[in-house]
């Protein structure tokens, strides 16, 4: 469901950076913690990109696993369920190292060949 909001946010970010260049692909890094359903995001992205310079652009999704750090015992782990309390020392002082990102990492654009302006 939130894939529609995310697709729109991704589109607007990409559009702002694309200017008037046609975009052929968009790379998105999505942390697992953001619970993005890839097929759903692709579907909505295709819909919202219609009639924009991103129409037909490929959505390249890079999924990032959740990685946590316990600040008390310095242990690191990759939880396979949302466990944010340290499994070793039970501390609640835990930082999220990865898995929360929702970033437009790159766009692939079509550029016109630079015209040669040098003197002949």
């Amino acid at each position: 469901m939130h894939e529609l909001s995310i697709a729109t946010a991704v589109l607007n970010t990409a559009l702002r950076h694309a200017g008037d260049r046609p975009v052929t692909a968009v790379g998105v890094r999505a942390g697992r913690f953001r619970q993005v359903v890839p097929e759903s995001l692709r579907f909505y992205f295709e819909v919202v990109a219609r009639d924009t310079p991103l129409e037909g652009a490929r959505l390249e999704l890079i999924e990032v696993p959740v990685r946590l750090l316990c600040r008390a015992c310095r242990g690191e782990w990759e939880p396979d369920w949302p466990l944010f309390r340290c499994p070793d020392c039970a501390s609640a002082n835990v930082s999220v190292l990865a898995g929360e990102e929702l970033e437009v990492e790159y766009i692939e654009v079509e550029e016109k060949e630079a015209t040669c302006t040098g003197a002949r």
């Binding site: 909001s5 970010t13 944010f84 970033e103 990492e105 790159y106 692939e108 079509e110």
Partner: protein, 227 residues
Amino acid sequence: MHRSKVRIVEDALDANNTIARANRADFDCHGVTVLNLMSAPGAGKTTLLERLLAEPLEGIRVGVLEGDVQGSYDSDRLAALHIPVTQLNTDPGFGAECHLDANMVRSALPSLPLAEIDLLVVENVGNLVCPAEFRVGEDARVMVCAVTEGEDKPLKYPLMFRTCEVVVINKIDLLDHLDFELDRFLYNLDAVHPGVEQMLVSARTGEGVEQVRDWLLRLTARTGVPA
């Protein structure tokens, strides 16, 4: 024509966050503390507000911004409390969004009586997913979770449960009639958001609501910039 890859690395929600910061600056400038109140549909946000605001909040002037997909049912209920209530429908012009975002709240700023209130409660659209992603310029986020929703909710919606500093566990008057295992819910909540402040209440009977009231007073004292 040739293809080239342009590196961007920008949070997809940057645009929203920028507007949220602008909202926040406007709220700060008027000394208004803002609370983003979120839940699944029907968890009891409006009922809790009716309870909380039935009596004056120790001189704190409260206003409510009601986010709803359609209609003004909740605003009509709160209007009985004689406090300023502003309705913000996400349907017209916003494509029936399932959450409030910073821009929608920005559009409502001119109709909010910021000079006359100290605390603005934003009742978000009932949804446990999208509202967690979109900041609107709030100082604090609170969610209401009813015991009728089951023990697994924190595990299913970790982003929402993690993003809130208080979880109000509502409808405890129904505990005797349900097979809801409170301990299991609290265990799951602790796994997802260790140490989060939790309050057991019944907005129906009023039990426990004074905890939320006291917390609101602390919040306003903590964030309120004297106007």
